[in-house]
Amino acid sequence: MSFDWMKIPYALLTVFIVFNYGMLLGALIQKIGARAGRRHGIPIWQNYVDLIKNYGQRTSITHGVMFYLGPVFRLTGGIGLLLFVPTIYGSYMFSNLSFAGDLILALYFVFFGTLGMALGAGESGHPHAAIGITRGLSQVSVAELPFALAVFAVALQYQTLSVTDIVAAQQGGVMNWTLFTNPLAVAAAMLAFLGSMMRPPFDVVIAPQEIPIGPPTEYHSAYLALMQTNRAIFPIAKMVIYMNLFFGGATSWPEFAVKVFLLYLFSAFVGVCFPRFRVEQSIRWFLIWAVPLGVLAILWV
Amino acid sequence: MRALHIRLQHLFPLGELTEQRPDLGFVTVPAAYLRPTLLHLRDREGYTHLVLLTAVDWLEEDLFQLTYLLSNRSTGCDIGLRVKFPRQAAHMESIHDLWPTAATYQRELREMFGIDFPGSPRLHEEFILEGWNDIPPYRRDFDTLKYARANYNDRPGRETHDPEQHMKQQLYPDGA
């Protein structure tokens, strides 16, 4: 199998589109959340302004190389995730660098960013960072568990580890989506989705009130901008996987936009209404509610 | 309030009652009798709530006054116990074992007035002032204006004129 070099610029084009969509979508969701709080919310371009400002600033202190690599790892996680899964099914331009076993790689990339952050923030030597890392890693791990179970269920169901093949199997009508062929797996995965979106009730990791002030304060200036870039790309990339695995993928950009928006809205829909769990409470919650669903999903198949 | 005062006077050598309002009275207690009086009020008379503990500096008389204000919720009455003692080497018995919260008041009094309460927990930890290098600031002989002038700068360009002097100067420049 020869590698098609043209795929690289096309994949980068995907990244560009997804980035801008992520920026706008982030602001849009914030505005929708603000409506629940009876506010007008931010201007839709506000995220761009913040990003440009932050990229224009430099830090004047030093913590060590690993500290600075933290946001880089994080961003790598986001972009890598996006690059190796097909964004638009059936499109040569936007199938990116997907290959037969990309599902495994995707699972790895979902975790990669958090791991990078842990290494980076740990280097700062700040006691809060240590607490934040512990919380972040334990919560992400436990939230990943039902997701992994759901992914196994899906992989078993379709007998493949290629995301493209999974999407292909879901074509031909809504009833072919995993959502309907294996609802238990989708339910487990969606609960995991809540856990990984850093919104209440599972945002204790980045909760400023509850001490581990965490990366957003430790990292500043251009590093913060890197993380903001990631915040525009990574959730979308994750939602692309969800879309592909459970909701029939997308065959065109408009379909992609609608599906991602609805997925994004789902996390905000829950997030606005609830306060957050403590770490051990959320771990317990995942173990009680989400993991059994995942196990059942596998048994179902 | 009067009846309470009469009852107390049988037990302790108290001063006259100053009845500020029907439900509020102040009475002077000798330092040595403070603790039994407080205990009696707390356990026998229902004055269980220590409202506040603070000091007054009577610089001219060279005295510190400590005021222990107690409240009885069932009768809605308050009594203030005044204890006076010399300003030099000021110290007073600690009551943190009667009311744990008194430790906080005593910490503040030590810092702000320089009154010592031997045995009170964390008495010498800084409460509000970090790195304070002057006499305790709530004493009357501490001059805030002088301190401010010595330590802070004024905004340049401020000057005022006394209307009377200004007028005299303008109308009678020769000082007539």
């Binding site: 959340g33 603000a34 709080g37 009876r38 006691p127 809060h128 240590a130 607490i131 209440p200 009730p201 909760a207 400023p208 009130q209 509850e210 001490i211 002030i213 606005v272 209404c273 609830f274 306060p275 957050r276 769990f277 403590r278 770490v279 051990e280 409470q281 317990r284 | 100053t18 500020q20 439900d23 509020l24 102040f26 269980t48 709530h49 220590l50 409202v51 506040l52 603070t54 000091a55 007054v56 500096d57 005021t67 919720r73 809605g76 308050d78 203030g80 009311w99 744990p100 919260t101 430790a103 906080t104 927990p121 800084e126 409460f127 509000i128 002032l129 970090e130 600031p137 709530y138 805030t144």
Partner: protein, 392 residues
């Protein structure tokens, strides 16, 4: 469900004098500062936490970040000049400072504020109480990550600030209750706008009730957390909603009625579980009671008559020697002013008894032990403390 019981074998032992034997070098413990600039802290104070794992073994309150020495400053100002600075001792509910100061001065100088002024004062104090509670509810929900409540209550509070603005001429520091009376009467059409505001607040509180108090996660975080033992009430001088949530109906408005509270109908709100949830609930119900009290006050208050007593010239006003203590029930508990005069034109000593003084120092330090670090913010907010009252 005992899935996990914390291992307390690592915990520090007590030394002879009651303090903990904490050896930071052992690596078992970590020192953390929550505050002074931190979203999870009430105002400008900080708590020095020593943690063992995720549990707090010791917490020490540090204040002084906004100490301006009000009590000392007042000793150098004439009685009328003290009036503009007292309100700064408590930002979210400044009116109690103005009232207590004015009442203490009136008590010592023998001046009676007119009947109409007393009704105006009660109205302002209840409006301020609503403001303070609204801010608290937003803070309590926000400390646990439920930001939407804060947005609603901020809106409701803003409406109340509008009413304050048209009545007193300022939104935050009203500087309206002068010694001797109040500055002005009600503006035209105030009653109707007030009624609209109260309705809006009631509807907001209904939403708050649905989203915050009937919330599985909020209950999970607050029920059974941060319990104040009723036996501590006298030991630590606990007053206000903190005491009422523990089942003791301490309320100065009822115990020692001041202003016009004798003529109003109300019953102190109490709760029994004394945890964070109960304290929030007591405050929510107290807020609704204040709404009712404002309606009663507006219905009963006289609309004409003097607003300020006949005062001597305040530029050279002297008050004979004496001392007094005046208290009121603010949203956090008993607020009082202890005023000593010496016959000159200046107060000899003013001592402000803010309820936070005991709540945020001795009580918080006692309660903070053995809770999770994540709960520190929620616990602190639930005591409803405002640091300026501590350091004055």
């Amino acid at each position: 469900m005992a899935l996990y019981t914390p291992d307390r074998s690592q915990y520090p032992a007590k030394k002879a004098d009651g303090t903990l034997d904490i050896d930071l070098a052992s690596g078992k413990y970590l020192k953390l500062w929550q505050g002074p600039n931190h979203p999870g802290i009430t105002g400008n104070m900080s708590v020095e936490l020593t943690v063992c794992g995720d549990e707090v073994v010791e917490g020490k309150t540090h204040v002084g970040y906004l100490h301006r020495g009000f009590e000392k400053l007042m000793e150098r100002r004439s009685f009328i000049q003290c009036f503009p600075i007292v309100c700064r001792i408590c930002v979210p509910e400044p009116d109690f400072n103005e009232y207590c100061y004015a009442a203490a001065v009136e008590d010592l100088s023998g001046i009676q504020s007119p009947e109409r002024a007393n009704w105006m004062r009660a109205l302002i104090l209840e409006m301020g109480r609503i403001n303070s509670y609204l801010m608290y509810l937003g803070g309590q929900a926000g400390a646990l990550g439920l930001g939407v409540i804060g947005q609603w209550t901020t809106y409701a509070r803003d409406l109340m600030l509008d009413r304050f603005e048209e009545m007193t001429g300022a939104r935050i520091y009203h500087m309206f209750i002068l010694p001797g009376g109040v500055r002005d009467g009600l503006p035209d059409g105030f009653d109707q706008r007030m009624e609209e505001t109260l309705r809006e607040i009631e509807s907001t509180m209904k939403d708050v009730h649905d989203v915050m108090f009937h919330n599985a996660v909020f209950k999970k975080r607050t029920v059974g957390q941060g319990v104040i033992d009723p036996a501590w009430l006298d030991q630590y001088g606990v007053t206000g909603p903190n005491a009422r949530a523990a089942g003791v109906a301490k309320d100065v408005r009822r115990d020692q009625p001041y202003l016009v509270y004798r003529e109003l109908e109300f019953e102190p709100v109490i709760g029994h579980d004394s945890d964070i949830y109960t304290r929030s609930d007591v405050r929510r119900r107290d807020l609704l009671m204040s709404v009712d009290l404002i309606r009663q006050i507006l219905a009963k208050m006289p609309r004409s008559g003097p607003l300020i007593a006949d005062m001597p010239s305040m530029l050279h006003w002297k008050i004979p020697r004496g001392e007094t203590y005046v208290r009121g029930e603010c949203s956090r508990g008993e607020y009082g002013y202890y005023l000593v005069t010496d016959g000159s034109g200046f107060p000899r000593r003013v001592n402000v008894r803010g309820p936070s003084y005991t709540h945020a120092m001795a009580l918080l330090e006692r309660m903070i032990v053995n809770i999770n670090i994540s709960d520190v913010a929620a616990l602190m907010v639930s005591l409803h403390t405002y640091p300026p009252e501590i350091e004055r």
